[in-house]
């Protein structure tokens, strides 16, 4: 395995609340968040958030739910990176991406963001060449297509099979 390098833990869409990890006792020491594009960030102080939760307990309940969703997401990603081959990791990541930002069209689901192979590599712990090879395999299996560098998923079940999800559920 290579030495220290960058790993994208999560892509945060506009309006995604972030930083709840800082409210827990455990923080990733070397993790940071950066704007991918020019952006305005609203920041809420911890005291304000705690006050809001006291006033509106439903916000606290949603936050617990958010934390458990994030935990599940990170667990799955880490499991993928440590246990799966690159095509399966890529398939699993694309399943997450279509959940978070996929746009349904007749016969396919498009991912509106243009991800470079290098960036996808940082999200699955692989280099650019391995991502390109994995895309070739997923395209051969009829799971997806790349057109003008955008990803279009044509067969979600084939992608789930490639990700090993269907086997896990059986």
């Amino acid at each position: 395995m290579e030495a220290s390098r960058e790993f994208t833990l999560e892509v945060l869409e506009a309006g995604t609340v972030f930083g709840e990890v800082a409210f827990t006792a455990h923080r990733l020491r070397d993790a940071y968040a950066q704007a991918t594009e020019p952006s305005i960030v609203l920041a809420m102080e911890r005291a304000d958030v705690e006050h809001l939760i006291q006033q509106k307990p439903q916000v606290g309940i949603r936050m617990i739910s958010l934390l458990s969703e994030r935990l599940h997401y990170y667990e799955t990603r880490m499991q993928d990176v440590t246990l799966k081959e690159v095509p399966a990791r890529l398939a699993s990541l694309i399943l997450f991406l279509i959940e978070s930002e996929g746009v349904k069209r007749p016969g396919e689901i498009g991912i509106p963001t243009r991800y470079s192979h290098e960036h996808l590599g940082t999200m699955i712990g692989a280099n650019r060449e391995a991502v390109t090879r994995a895309f070739g395999r997923l395209q051969d299996e009829g799971a997806l297509q790349i057109r003008r560098r955008f990803i279009y998923v044509e067969d979600v079940e084939a992608l789930e099979r490639a990700a090993g999800r269907l086997l896990e559920e059986e």
């Binding site: 395995m1 290579e2 030495a3 220290s4 390098r5 960058e6 790993f7 994208t8 833990l9 999560e10 892509v11 945060l12 869409e13 506009a14 309006g15 995604t16 609340v17 972030f18 930083g19 709840e20 800082a22 409210f23 923080r27 990733l28 020491r29 070397d30 993790a31 940071y32 968040a33 950066q34 704007a35 991918t36 594009e37 020019p38 952006s39 305005i40 960030v41 609203l42 920041a43 809420m44 102080e45 911890r46 304000d48 958030v49 809001l52 509106k56 439903q58 916000v59 949603r62 936050m63 958010l66 963001t113 940082t122 712990g125």
Partner: protein, 80 residues
């Protein structure tokens, strides 16, 4: 970002989804009193674990949560 855009952003945040617009405006007023709006260029870092107190961030555009640590024994924050 004007107030309407800020309200639109807050209303998209899932932890606030059960709150009516009037309450979102109240939250926003509190936020702005504390100069809580941060303007960032692409690639600018807005969260590191070294920040002393926890904050909750709501980006108006796409952001990445990154780690520079690949092996557990290594630690560097090369881009902060």
């Amino acid at each position: 970002m004007n107030e309407e855009q800020q309200i639109k952003l807050l209303s998209k945040v899932d932890i606030f989804e059960s709150l009516p617009e009037e309450e979102l405006r109240g939250i926003l007023r509190d936020l702005l009193q504390r100069n809580a709006e941060i303007n960032l260029g692409g690639g600018e870092v807005f969260y590191t674990p070294r920040q002393p107190d926890g904050k909750l961030f709501i980006p108006s555009n796409r952001a990445g949560y990154e780690s520079t640590r690949w092996k557990p024994q290594e630690s560097s924050l090369s881009r902060c």
